[in-house]
């Protein structure tokens, strides 16, 4: 049946005047600054946490499990007593938990790409890396949260860092800075692989052995020579050593410099690469 369109015109959405006013009004404002655009994307990340708080489960539950598991199951066997092991393992678990969280930056980016919203972001007149830098800023908040959960739990279990709160905050800051650099690598992965699951699998395939082949859990002195050599130069070992040092007030400046340098190097390599891939995705 054909219906004459003029007689069945649907009732207007709102009144026509409001529509015309909304359509007529705007003059183009000056371009958003790079910082403002990045912060706005960071705000987007925060809103997602607000609307989907389940996202935080993996940054809170998993670290708690690791602390309890390693301290009470392996602590006695590895270090003689759970208390002594806690002092060794806690900065290590902090490193591990935060670094595991960086994989999700790649997963989240890949998930974004499967949706139309990225096309809109890419067609906006903004600083090109803003969506990526912004989401990393948002992720950094998650890193701080994961780190805080670990430290609070540690203190409850009897962890008493020698350098006090200042040392703990410095250690957390160092870990978050390193995570920021490493995240760029996983974001590149997130743009290269086809599905969020593939990013997750490949990401953990990389970060898991790197973390375990470090001094996060055990003192490398008992390891076979070849392995010990690898563990000693693994940046994650250096990060764990520096974190322990900061918490105890005995950090080597050279360790901190190596960690910051590695973070800068990762950013210098992967940030431009990620931005380039994002423009073309």
């Amino acid at each position: 049946m054909r219906v004459n369109p003029t007689t069945t015109k649907p009732k207007p959405l709102a009144d026509d005047a409001a529509l015309r006013k909304a359509l007529a009004s705007t003059a183009r404002p000056p371009r958003a600054s790079a910082v403002s655009a990045a912060l706005t994307f960071g705000w987007r990340g925060m809103l997602k946490v607000k609307h989907v708080p389940e996202q935080l489960l993996d940054v809170t539950i998993t670290p708690v499990m690791f602390v309890l598991l390693f301290t009470y199951l392996f602590g006695g066997a590895i270090a003689g007593s759970t208390g002594e092991y806690l002092d060794y393992i806690l900065p290590g678990i902090l490193v591990m938990s935060v670094l595991f969280t960086t994989v999700y930056s790649g997963v989240a980016l890949n998930t974004d790409l499967t949706r139309g919203v990225v096309d809109r972001f890419r067609s906006l007149p903004i600083w090109k890396p803003a969506p990526l830098v912004g989401s990393l800023l948002g992720d950094s908040v998650r890193y701080v949260l994961a780190g805080t959960v670990i430290i609070v739990l540690g203190v409850i279990l009897g962890f008493r860092p020698g350098a006090g709160i200042g040392g703990v905050v410095a250690a957390l800051a160092l870990v978050v800075i390193f995570a920021f650099g490493l995240s760029w690598g996983f974001m590149t992965l997130g743009l290269l692989l086809r599905s969020p699951n593939a990013v997750m699998n490949a990401g953990f395939m990389g970060i898991f052995p790197l973390t375990f082949l470090s001094n996060v859990f055990v003192d490398p002195e008992t390891l076979p020579a070849g392995l010990e050599a690898f563990v000693d130069v693994n940046p994650i070992s250096i990060l764990a050593t520096a974190s322990r040092g900061l918490m105890e007030g005995s950090a080597e400046v050279s360790d901190i410099a190596i960690v910051l340098g590695t973070a800068a190097l990762l950013t210098a390599i992967f940030a431009p690469l990620t931005t380039r891939l994002y423009r073309r995705a």
Binding site: T26, R31, H51, D119, R120, R122, S123
Partner: protein, 332 residues
């Protein structure tokens, strides 16, 4: 001022290949400032690829294009500051509320926070989304999502707007609402490039149409010109009583010539270019005591245009097209 240029979009010889497939194979377009230009074609004809190149999301392999005088490759940043894109998948963030989406875009486009909030409120009101403003977009209906999508495209009024299949998957009511919004946008002076596979949509909205198939523009003109190029229209008559069809056929044959008997036993159609003669023929049927259920006199539809131009219907494979539509719906 750049808006004074007579052509908002000029493309010559645009080419884009994906592997072996030439998705866009030498497309030329000329879109007047302030008009709605329809790019019409079936799924996979190259519409979306063309729009993505013009919106600077894809770099053409060959050819060049200017949007309001800015080259899409060398001046892509300038292009991005005058255009907005409403993609085929809804280009809004599902995990945020409608209001948050609009504030986000307002901020990214350089509005200050209070301005972005005020603008979001104004748009939600105007697009009938005020009640749903605080709900997550993933819980919106298809029509609401489309409206939000278009609202998101005009947070800061673009001079050129790309709309990629804005009504795919919408019910007729939502579709009419989207059409109303598009008409209102044009009335305010925005130039619109509209990709669609709905022939009626291009007919309703567009001032000019390019018909595209296998990455090439195969015809171009106003809707009227395209129809005229296919030939005359037809008079369709449906009788109250199928028994009277032979007599009606005799009368129409003598009035207008070549009658076509349709599958419906009460219906016939006859080619007829002249409205007066068509009306006369209907009057003659009525005078002869033949009861008429309904009749219509129309120009050929754009469906018929497409068939005449390409030798195949707009939807080559209805099953496949249906599947694609469902897939799209799910993704959106």
């Amino acid at each position: 001022m750049t808006t004074q240029t007579p052509l908002a979009i000029e493309a010559t010889g645009l080419v884009k290949s994906f592997g072996e497939t030439r998705a866009v194979d030498g497309v030329d377009l000329a879109v007047r400032t302030g008009s709605v230009y329809g790019v019409l074609g079936p799924n996979g004809a190259g519409k979306t690829t063309t729009i993505r190149m013009l919106a600077t999301l894809l770099r053409p392999d060959a050819g060049e294009a200017r949007v309001l005088g800015h080259d899409i490759v060398t001046e892509d940043d300038a292009v991005r500051s005058v255009v907005s894109l409403t993609g085929q998948l809804a280009s809004v963030d599902e995990d945020l509320t409608g209001r948050e989406n609009l504030i986000l875009l307002g901020r990214l486009l350089g509005l200050r926070r209070p301005e972005a909030k005020a603008r979001a409120g104004e748009l939600l009101e105007a697009f009938g989304l005020a009640d749903a403003a605080g709900r997550l977009v993933k819980n919106y209906s298809g029509g609401m999502r489309r409206r939000l999508d278009i609202a998101a495209s005009i947070v800061v009024t673009p001079q050129v707007m790309f709309l990629d299949e804005p009504t795919t998957g919408l019910d007729p009511r939502s579709r009419n609402q989207v059409w109303d919004i598009i008409r209102a946008l044009v009335a305010e002076g925005t130039t619109i490039l509209l990709c669609t596979q709905y022939l009626e949509e291009a007919d309703q909205l567009a001032d000019g149409i390019a018909v595209i198939d296998h990455g090439k523009v195969i015809a171009e003109g106003t809707p009227g010109q395209l129809k005229a190029s296919v030939g005359s229209g037809a008079l369709h008559v449906r009788l109250l009583d199928p028994e009277q069809r032979p007599e009606a056929e005799r009368i129409l044959l003598s009035e207008l010539g070549g009658v076509h008997l349709e599958p419906d036993p009460a219906a016939l159609s006859v080619s007829c270019a002249d409205a007066d003669r068509g009306a006369e023929a209907v009057a003659e049927l009525s005078r002869s005591g033949i009861g008429i259920a309904d009749f219509s006199l129309g120009q050929p539809s754009l469906d018929e245009v497409f068939l005449a131009l390409t030798g195949h219907p707009a939807e080559e494979d209805p099953v496949e097209a249906e599947a694609a539509a469902i897939e799209e719906e799910r993704a959106a």
